[in-house]
Subunit: 407 residues, 2 copies
């Protein structure tokens, strides 16, 4: 028994029947004596439908009005879930983000939570009620409604869990948890019982899309254990938490393989090796809102170097244009690009201190006949850029090499 | 040039195209230099759709959650209209009822406006913006969202006009104004240029459904001129206002004929004529929320009297049951009922002081061979209960008799 924050995604509350199914899950937990705060996303494709309406009346809807419009989606689902709960005898109250005390800045469309005032939720919990909160939204000091952008409802849930000092935050979604690799690629992939925040962040940023990194980061900062599980089955999920209790040996292992085919590669050849060059190349990209990933610069030969980096495919065309412009200015030799590469990564805490892992990874790819184009590492991750057509083979080979199916 | 409050109903903002059409109407007025506050209802059948969803998840949705759910409908339409206005160059800001300063009591589903704080609207008007306000809703002191019930958006508009001391409140709807009779019944019915609040209230309560009486009453109390017109045409509408400027002769005339076929009649025969009997009969009906209309009690004969009254057809079955119970207790002879009657009324200021009108009405019905079952009068109205099958004939006969087509 304790205070639990749960979050149900849009697929889980897509229609009246699913809302009732979610209500029954909550009722079971309520009857076990837990205090429950439940955060919901908008029903199914509601948000897309509202955005479509906005673009029907305006080529460029204002961010403030768009946020107010979109916020209605979560208000609808939280009221319906509260009604469904009361219909089966569970006292419940629906709260907008504003009523739940979610205070944000005024950056419409991607607002940041500045403060959470949990007093109203706490008073409802004391009355024995389940508080059902509209996710993805907050209110500014000027009483304007904001939305939190991508991963918004997950972020609402984790922020509330932190402010309420909840025992844990449970994210219910349409997957059963975090796997050692994508189960569609590796049938013998194993669901992880636990994973550290850091590993989760690396897996997610390298292509494993279960939760948005923003919510995981927030959970890490406030030490909120995050449990990810399916809202459609009773199967146990994965707990994202600190790994302090475990021994060094257990920590220093590969937990999972991530892969990502949304990779556009750009190489600038013959870049003069002098201070300020990197800034000249990457500042315009950042200003254009293009995220750059996996930057590799080779050791320079005769004061000339090659610089390679990756961007999302959607940004590739624009990035190439901008880079060509800069390359000319700085007197680089040529700009090459392609979108036929993919990234494959192994992730695990403390990996860098165990050199054997890198060797195992490279050997496994070599034995599968897969060429490595580029290598980057973080403290807990090694990423190889390989041919996109070989990526699934690579994931399977690595999964076998690290014996991940055995746990 | 002045401060104008406009209100557009659900049909007028039913889809993106109609919202854009409304935006163009507003733009014209804005360019003439008027300061504009625009109140909108939910798009088309949105409210019905939301109510349907609520009943899919709960046999008896809670009033508080239902209000929060329904309030989203008007938020959606006000954001879309603000976007459509900005898309054609009119600066506009969308406001929820709460943001517009509409403070109400906590009687969910039928909240009363307690106070209006127009400061935020005024500051947007000073910035040169059109304030687009979600109708039908408000907020309690505890920050809970309420809805105002029937006629809610009209009431929002008139309340804002009163608080802002607006020049007038314009209600745009799917009819062109107030007519001397229902144009579907009387093809030569004439649109009225003006009508007094009192006459409008009597017409509306006797069956002419254009605006809800609540909003008209509020306009009367705060002396807000209310202009009713079509949002689909440019035809001039009807102004509901004080009639002070006009001569007695002009005032003392019939302005319109109302009719209502939603009539269930109940007669209690042989009621003992003693104090407290009327209370015994009508108190339980009031407690059950049944509105009673047109009560007539005949002069008593041998300390026994007959009591007749009408209710809406939807309430008839329940009312008869309750009345039978009371009739037995008080020793009345029998309870009769039917739902084949209709009301036809003539409405006009100062009518009661001109006896000729009653005579003209009764003669017109007599000449048309229509039997009068029951007569009631107010200061500015005479109503006859007649056979429902004859009601359209009666309306036409009265329209002719009072020469209403001539104006």
């Amino acid at each position: 028994m304790g205070l639990i924050v749960q979050k149900y995604g849009g697929t889980s509350v897509a229609d009246a029947q699913r809302i009732q199914a979610v209500a029954h899950r909550i009722a079971q937990r309520y009857q076990q004596g837990d205090q429950l705060v439940v955060v919901v996303s908008a029903m199914g494709n509601t948000t897309d439908r509202l955005i479509q309406l906005a673009y029907q009346v305006s080529p460029e809807p204002e961010a403030r009005e768009l946020d107010l419009l979109l916020s209605t989606g979560e208000v609808v689902s939280c009221t319906l879930l509260a009604m469904a709960l009361r219909a089966i005898g569970v006292p419940a109250v629906a709260l907008t983000g504003a009523q739940a005390g979610i205070g944000t800045d005024a950056r419409y469309g991607r607002a940041r939570i500045l403060r959470v005032d949990p007093s109203r939720i706490l008073s409802h919990l004391r009355e024995g009620k389940v508080a059902v909160v509209a996710g993805f939204q907050g209110i500014t000091e000027e009483m304007d409604i904001t939305t939190l952008g991508r991963g918004g409802s997950d972020t609402t849930a984790v922020a509330l869990a932190a402010a309420l000092k909840a025992q844990r935050c449970e994210i219910y979604t349409d997957v059963e948890g975090i796997y050692t690799a994508d189960p569609r690629v590796v049938p013998e992939a194993r669901k992880l019982e636990r994973i550290s925040y850091e590993e989760m962040l690396e897996l997610a940023s390298q292509g494993a899309r279960v939760m948005h990194n923003r919510a995981v980061e927030l959970g890490w900062v406030y030490k909120v254990p995050i449990y990810v599980a399916s809202s459609f089955t009773e199967a146990p999920g994965t707990l994202i938490c600190l790994q302090e209790g475990e021994s060094m040996e257990q920590r220093n292992k590969v937990v999972g393989i991530a892969h990502d085919t949304d990779v556009g590669r750009i190489t600038i050849r013959g870049v003069p090796d002098r201070p300020g060059i990197a800034a000249a190349i990457f500042t315009p990209l950042a200003e254009a809102g293009i995220s750059v990933d996996t930057i590799v610069q080779n050791a320079s030969v005769e004061r000339l170097t090659d610089l390679t980096f990756t961007v999302a495919k959607a940004d590739l065309r624009k990035a190439v244009e901008m880079v060509r412009h800069v390359a000319q200015e700085i007197g680089a030799k040529e700009v090459l690009w392609d979108d036929v590469m993919a990234k494959v990564s192994i992730v695990g805490s403390g990996m860098q201190s165990v050199p054997g892992y890198a060797a195992t990874m490279f050997r496994a790819l070599y034995q599968a006949g897969i060429n490595i184009e580029l290598i980057t590492t973080s403290e807990i991750r090694i990423t190889c850029l390989i041919d996109a057509s070989r990526v699934e083979e690579a994931v399977r080979a690595l999964h076998r090499a690290f014996q991940l199916e055995e746990g």
